[in-house]
């Protein structure tokens, strides 16, 4: 009952200066909201990164062909540059490293693909049946490339969802034949993939691996029909490259062996390829751990920013309370004369600061929870108003979906209350230490 009164009084006193109180509350509110927002955005980004990396498979190792920056002298004169992974590497790795459970050779290139009046550029991927499992592709209809198809080098293909959409807007693609323009060759569609989200960037490019524009064909068919060499003519000069394999994805028997196997792979490749740096080994497990470290750093950094804003809010409270105490010296004197103990005065002023910080905390939590929809809305608006700007952003930022960290709500709230008490204590103590006689005399 009396406590209720103390609170009522505190709120009444705060309402004596509504503007001042509101501004003070604003300080805390911004601090609390920013704690929740920063943590939510950080969590969103890191979950997305983690999801993308996990999409690569933690028990996988990828070896990619990389175009060497400084091609050796011998091949500089030739207009066709051979580099990258060889079928020989593939055989050697599979034979010599026992921890490799399975190995998946991949060859990919960009080709113009046509059906009826529609022609689009696709990434044509030559692969084996395991590809679907390793990259977690799932088939919507039909089937993925089979061993039999690889064996007899059939002209069959499987289309990703976007390709279906663009080549077959009105028809069922299954059983139809698409036309590879460069080779003047037909491929029968035997399967359609389900839509899927991109995975983490690999092989040095900033963009994530996007599977939506893929056409899968048996790797043997690709070798026979297209070959290893690609020639591009640009402005009269002809340039080309010979790549046997773009990527070998290794599945390792156990996660514990991933690290050691990766080292072995690097050694083997170094022996085979000499000084030319035309391969890169990517270990998703490493990326994952790195992402976790980055997340920790990010969180600490965000936490620091939030802590600073809360500190500023706290100092704001203290500042206002010191002013309030001075301003209400007379009131303090009167209350002391009417029987208030020092503790009563401390309590009265603490209640006011706590009321402000709790209010700031509550509003902050409320606005903090608005983070995901607000970000979505902002993205929508920016997309409409400045589409170029949003396209220029890295996709982790562009597509971030903030995830409210549940613990951040009680945390932010508690911090705001603690800040209120901490920064309210000194002004309240100052008020209580006043000599009642002096205080009564105060103008």
């Amino acid at each position: 009952m009396l406590w209720l009164r103390t609170w009522r009084l505190g709120i009444k006193s705060l309402l004596l200066h509504p503007m001042r109180t509101a501004l003070t509350v604003l300080g805390i509110f911004i601090g609390v909201a920013s704690v929740i927002w920063l943590l939510a955005i950080g969590e969103g980004i890191s979950r997305e990164a983690q999801r993308q990396i996990e999409g690569l498979g933690a028990d996988n190792i990828m070896i990619r062909s990389v175009k060497p920056l400084n091609p050796p002298e011998a091949s500089a004169s030739a207009f066709i540059l051979p580099y990258g992974l060889l079928r020989e590497d593939y055989a050697l790795l599979v034979e010599t490293i026992p921890t490799i459970k399975s190995a998946l050779p991949i060859r990919e290139m960009r080709r113009m693909v046509r059906y009826a009046d529609n022609t689009i550029e696709c990434r044509v991927v030559g692969c084996t049946p395991e590809y679907a499992e390793v990259t977690r592709l799932s088939i919507e209809r039909g089937h993925f490339i089979t061993d039999a198809e690889v064996k007899v080098m059939q002209n069959h293909c499987v289309l990703a969802s976007q390709v279906v959409e663009r080549l077959f807007p009105y028809e069922d693609p299954l059983g139809r034949r698409v036309y590879f323009q460069d080779q003047k060759d037909y491929y029968t569609v035997v399967g359609i993939c389900r839509d899927r989200a991109p995975t983490a960037a690999i092989g040095g490019s900033l963009d994530a691996q996007d599977f939506s524009n893929d056409v899968y064909i048996p790797i043997s068919t690709m070798r026979k029909r297209i070959g290893d060499t690609i020639v591009m003519s640009s402005g009269g000069s002809r340039e080309g490259e010979t790549v046997e394999l773009n990527q070998i994805t290794l599945r390792i028997d156990s996660i514990n062996n991933v690290q050691r196997t990766a080292e072995l792979v690097e050694e083997t490749l170094l022996k085979n390829h000499g000084k030319i740096k035309d391969t890169a080994v990517i270990v998703p497990l490493e990326l994952l751990e790195q992402a976790k470290r980055t997340k920790m750093m990010f969180m600490v950094f965000m936490g620091l920013i939030a802590a600073i804003s809360l500190l500023v809010g706290g100092i704001g409270i203290m500042n206002i309370m010191l002013a309030t105490v001075t301003e209400r010296t007379r009131e303090i004197g009167v209350r002391r004369a009417l029987g208030a103990r020092r503790a009563d005065i401390v309590r009265q002023f603490l209640v006011e600061t706590i009321a402000m910080s709790v209010l700031g905390g509550l509003v902050g939590v409320g606005v903090g929870l608005l983070c995901p929809p607000v970000i979505d809305g902002a993205r929508l608006i920016v997309k409409r108003v400045a589409p170029d700007m949003i396209a220029g952003l890295p996709d982790v930022v562009r597509d971030v979906t903030p995830i409210i960290v549940p613990a951040s709500i009680p945390l932010a709230f508690c911090i705001s209350v603690v800040i209120g008490v901490m920064f309210g204590l000194y002004p309240a103590y100052r008020a209580a230490q006043m000599d009642p006689i002096e205080a009564l005399r105060h103008e």
Binding site: M1, R5, K12, R330, V334, L338, A340, R341, R342, P436
Partner: protein
């Protein structure tokens, strides 16, 4: 006769850097219950100092002051607070109501610091408000009241804890003569109802309403006389 307060050889020294100011140098007198005392004296004679001691806002340097059986000189800060909350009613020259509270809430403040606020207490607050003639102003804020009305609220507040005595420091100092008369009449009425009143004033018109006038000079009681009021009333 029961005493509301008993002062025995009270002294109060202020120790400053260069000197010691002897504001009170041995003041003794009794205040029987139902008395109406006016304390007078020239500026610097120790009136305020004495009032602070009587109001338990300060402790004497030496001597003893009894409120009932308790010696205030020996009390610590919390005990002094409790004594103020339960035994003493204050009326100030500048009313000193709390701005953010209404009339009733202002009257309730001493009870709040006693840690009690029952239904009967609230009823008593209303009674007091009615007694000082502010029954229809209960929800008003101090800023909405005239000086005389504010002082009435203050008087009601000083009575709410049923104190041993009401201490009034120049209670009419800020009021015009008509309002002054009203307030003084109110004090007289209260005194007739048995309330003990001690007030500090420098105006003879005010002290003329008291039953007894104590004049201070240089920290000592110079005279302590009964006025004709007492003779008339008794």
């Amino acid at each position: 006769m029961k005493l509301a307060a008993k002062l025995e050889n009270l002294t109060k020294h202020y120790v400053l850097k260069s000197e010691t100011v002897r504001a009170l140098r041995g003041v003794s007198f009794d205040v029987p219950e139902g008395d109406y005392v006016a304390i007078m004296g020239p500026s610097g004679s120790g009136k305020s100092t004495l009032l602070n001691l009587l109001g338990c806002l300060d402790r004497p340097t030496s001597g003893a002051m009894y409120l009932g059986d308790a010696n205030v000189a020996k009390m610590n800060d919390n005990q002094l607070s409790y004594t103020r909350a339960t035994r003493i009613g204050f009326v100030f020259q500048s009313y000193n109501l709390i701005q953010q509270l209404t009339v009733v809430e202002n009257i309730e403040v001493p009870l709040y610091y006693q840690g009690r606020l029952s239904k009967s207490d609230r009823a008593r607050c209303l009674e007091l408000a009615e007694m000082v003639g502010l029954k229809d102003r209960l929800g008003h804020r101090p800023a909405q009241l005239s000086g005389g009305q504010q002082q009435r609220v203050a008087i009601a507040r000083s009575l709410v804890n049923d104190p041993y005595f009401v201490l009034a420091d120049e209670p009419t100092g800020n009021l015009d003569s008509v309002t002054t008369d009203e307030i003084l009449r109110l004090f007289e009425n209260l005194n007739q109802l048995g309330k003990t009143i001690i007030l500090v004033t420098h105006e003879d018109e005010v002290s003329a309403h008291a039953k007894r006038v104590i004049r201070l000079r240089d920290g000592l009681v110079q005279t302590d006389e009964l006025t004709k009021n007492r003779i008339v009333l008794n």
